[in-house]
């Protein structure tokens, strides 16, 4: 038991190697956590960060290995990141358009699009994006110019993610768009009467949210794996929901929240590697944290009142 705990600690925050592993896990969780937080603030339940991440990784890989592999570094890396964002945004906007036009619940459509995205990845790496040698179902390795600069094993995507957290904070709390987004998230009907179109906000929010998740996917392939293969994301887009909820949907709070879950993932891997503890145990811990986070955030959600309190206030 103590052996497992030690492995967990040194594998997460107790050593330099642990910290680099934690930060590496943190980067995608932070960006996808922001994606989910933004969507939830706007009242759209984007469960599809996973699929949007994969779509982003797919598009990034297409640009880096097929469409523009010879481009100079200053252009290629931004193009790869942009392709990731566009791919994710497309998947997000698709769900948004379905909701705006046909009233399809984004909960359903984003979950289903997760399957579409992972199937598309499988299709691509068995087909057009498969490596030149055709030995394994994976893409060619990224050209060096398409790889994110990294410090040790931590890639620059983490810095971008931190920057994005501040940008989103400003976007949500200080800009007219963020203002309308929050209004729709809190009371869509009231927002409609105030001249804001909840449908339009939903499409925009889902596209933005998808763009973020797609960017996370691009950073994964360009910063960590250097190529696309199946099982690229082991549920990052789902953990992101817990990350966002624990942060109570505040972009700045997503930073420590993502760090917490990043440490949990890194420590779990170490515990499994060095002490032979099944990863299931940490999944249980994660599950408990998610339940706690959900319980706390529901209690604090404005507008949702406990019946007993509502009664005593009714006069």
């Amino acid at each position: 038991m103590s052996e497992a705990l030690l492995a967990f600690l040194s594998g997460s925050l107790g050593s330099l190697a642990g910290w680099t592993a934690t930060l590496r896990e943190t980067a995608p969780l932070l960006i996808t956590g922001l994606a989910v937080a933004l969507a939830f603030r706007g009242g759209v339940w984007n469960i599809g960060a996973e699929g949007q991440l994969l779509a982003g990784a797919l598009c990034a890989t297409a640009v880096a290995t097929r469409l523009w592999p010879g481009a100079p570094g200053i252009f290629l890396l931004p193009a790869v990141a942009l392709a990731g964002a566009v791919g994710g945004a497309f998947f997000g906007a698709l769900a948004g358009a379905l909701r705006a036009a046909r009233g399809v619940s984004e909960v359903i459509s984003t979950i289903l699009l997760n399957f579409v995205a992972s199937s598309l990845v499988a299709l691509a790496i068995h087909g057009p994006l498969q490596e030149a040698s055709r030995a394994y179902p994976k893409s060619d390795p990224f050209p060096a110019a398409a790889l994110l600069p990294s410090f040790g094993r931590v890639h620059a995507g983490l810095l971008v993610a931190l920057l994005l957290a501040f940008l989103l904070h400003v976007l949500v709390s200080r800009t007219p768009f963020g203002f309308r987004l929050r209004a729709v998230g809190l009371a869509p009907n009231a927002a409609r009467f105030a001249g804001i179109s909840p449908e339009r906000i939903a499409v925009t929010t889902l596209a933005l949210s998808g763009a973020l998740a797609g960017l996370a996917g691009a950073f994964e392939v360009a910063g960590v794996t250097g190529q696309l293969y199946e099982g690229l994301s082991a549920g990052t887009g789902y953990t992101a929901i817990a990350v966002a909820l624990l942060a109570r949907l505040e972009p700045l709070w997503v930073i420590p929240s993502a760090l917490f879950f990043g440490a949990l993932e890194a420590g779990a891997a170490a515990m499994q590697r060095e002490a032979g503890v099944p990863a299931v145990v940490t999944q249980v811990v994660q599950g408990v944290v998610i339940l706690l986070a959900v319980g706390v955030s529901i209690r604090r959600r404005p507008g949702v009142r406990l019946p007993a309190r509502a009664r005593s206030e009714a006069g």
Partner: protein
């Protein structure tokens, strides 16, 4: 909330409980119905002292307390008969549709409360729905019946029918507590009146004393408010030119009877036009069309002489402001501050608060504070969540926002719904001030008294059509028109 309140009601008596919103009427009744536990005090029912330690809804029911809430507690998708046996612990495990239906019909005859027992509750008129609720309470053996503002949803005719039913129940030896803030009803139905103010009993009067001391409506109002309420002043109208014109407005409805069928209407500057009607006859559709959130199938709207695209922002820019008694429809967002709510409607083009992609929070806070001080919003703190404000104060903010910039046209829809007498008076004064300043006011109200007190002209909205109400028509005549019995 309640502070040492004592209350007594005898068998065969109707007690009216009067008080403003927030006076503690509902809390007191919730104690009786077992929904709220008192901190101190005792309860005797039919001479038997009740142990309050385990007091709850089931205990209240077993002691014969039946409550009819303001909001219907029936299951809309069930029939009346199903609702009557639903939750009845005496029923066996099996549902027997035929027997339940016959039992419901028998009960309906026994108490002379006529309901279509086989129809689904969602298809019923408000009056029928309410009778079904009363039947359900009686069917569970209620000897003390509590009616929480029962006439709020009824037409004058339905209200009279309810009063008759209440009198029959009283004569059959049941006790009835009738909660209200309408003085006229109390005089019609109550044997005794208890008035609550801020959680205390301020007066306890028998109906005879009411008559003997010639306590008029005004005196009762003074007791309820704790201060005198002068009558509304409404100087003679000086109507100007047409500011709001509807031409052949057709709007798809939520139900067939609420579809608007070609409305023609003109509201001139300096006048208040009252549209009265029973809920579900197109009020909602008319409001939504005027707010720009429901698309008409035909017809047009002109504001200040110009035809306007029927979208929220276009209407607002043209000078049409919309005030609603419903927080959501008023465009108030819980979870946002007073300042944010104040600037919400201008979030697309109000340059005072929105410039170059950012919000001028200081200007918003300043404007909200000014409005709060001018309109007496308590507390006048622009950063406070609107959800923490009372209904009256939230509504004052909506009024402040809508009247900001002196819009030539104001559409007010049940603007005082759920407000206490003092706040309602404030809103009424603001509507009259708008009229005095030359604004055109369209008042869509389910409260006939409100429309009669404020409007220069009253029009009835019946099954999606406007019907003329002759000037000087009394409540009974208007009631007949609303039910579609009068001449078109």
């Amino acid at each position: 909330m309640l502070d040492g309140v004592s209350l007594e009601v005898a068998q065969g008596e109707v007690l009216a409980l009067l008080g403003e919103n927030g006076a503690g009427k509902s809390t007191l009744m919730n104690v009786l119905a077992g929904l709220v536990k008192p901190d101190a005090g005792g309860l005797e029912l039919a001479g038997e002292r009740v142990d309050l330690t385990g007091w709850g809804p089931r205990g209240a029911r077993d002691h014969g307390v039946g409550m009819v809430h303001q909001r219907s507690a029936l299951v809309p998708a069930f029939t009346v008969a199903e609702n009557l046996c639903f939750g009845d612990t005496r029923a066996g495990p099996w549902f027997r549709p035929g027997a339940e239906l016959r039992a419901a019909e028998a009960q309906s005859r026994r108490f002379e409360l006529e309901v279509p027992a086989g129809r689904r509750v969602e298809e019923l008129a408000p009056g029928q729905r309410q009778r079904a609720e009363i039947l359900r309470a009686l069917g569970r053996g209620a000897r003390l019946l509590i009616l929480d503002e029962p006439t709020a949803v009824l037409t004058p005719g339905e209200a009279s029918a309810l009063f008759a039913a209440v009198r029959r129940l009283r004569d059959a030896g049941r006790a009835v507590i009738f909660i209200s803030h309408k003085l006229a009803e109390v005089e019609q139905v109550a044997d005794r009146v208890t008035i609550l103010r801020r959680g205390r009993v301020v007066a306890n009067l028998s109906a005879r004393a009411l008559g003997a001391r010639e306590l008029g409506a005004r005196e009762l109002g003074r007791l309820m408010l704790g201060r005198d309420l002068p009558p509304l002043e409404r100087p003679a109208a000086r109507a100007g030119e047409a500011r709001l014109v509807l031409r052949g407005l057709c709007v798809p409805g939520v139900t067939e009877s609420s579809r608007l069928r070609g409305l023609d209407l003109e509201v001139r500057g300096g006048e208040i036009v009252g549209v009265v009607g029973i809920d579900g006859n197109g009020q909602r559709e008319l409001e939504e069309a005027l707010a720009g959130v429901r698309k008409p199938s035909a017809g047009s709207i002109e504001v200040a002489g110009r035809r306007v695209a029927l979208r929220p922002r276009a209407l607002r820019r043209a000078g049409l402001a919309h005030l609603s008694g419903d927080r959501e429809r008023a465009g108030l967002v819980r979870g946002m501050s007073l300042a944010e709510n104040f600037i919400l409607k201008g979030s697309w083009d109000d340059r005072r608060f929105f410039r170059r992609g950012r919000i001028d929070r200081r200007a918003a806070a300043r404007a909200a504070r000014e409005a709060a001080e001018r309109f007496g919003i308590v507390p006048p703190d622009p950063e406070r969540d609107i959800a923490s404000l009372s209904g009256g104060n939230a509504q004052k903010l909506a009024v402040a926002r809508e009247l900001d910039g002196d819009p030539p046209v104001l559409v007010a829809v049940n603007p005082t719904r759920g407000l206490d007498v003092g706040s309602a008076r404030f809103v009424h004064e603001q509507l009259l001030a708008r009229r005095a300043a030359g604004g055109a006011v369209l008042l869509i109200s389910a409260e006939l008294d409100e429309a009669l007190a404020l409007a220069d002209r009253v029009i009835a909205l019946v099954r999606g059509e406007l019907r003329r109400v002759p000037p000087g028509a009394d409540r009974a005549a208007i009631g007949a028109i609303l039910l579609g019995e009068g001449a078109a």
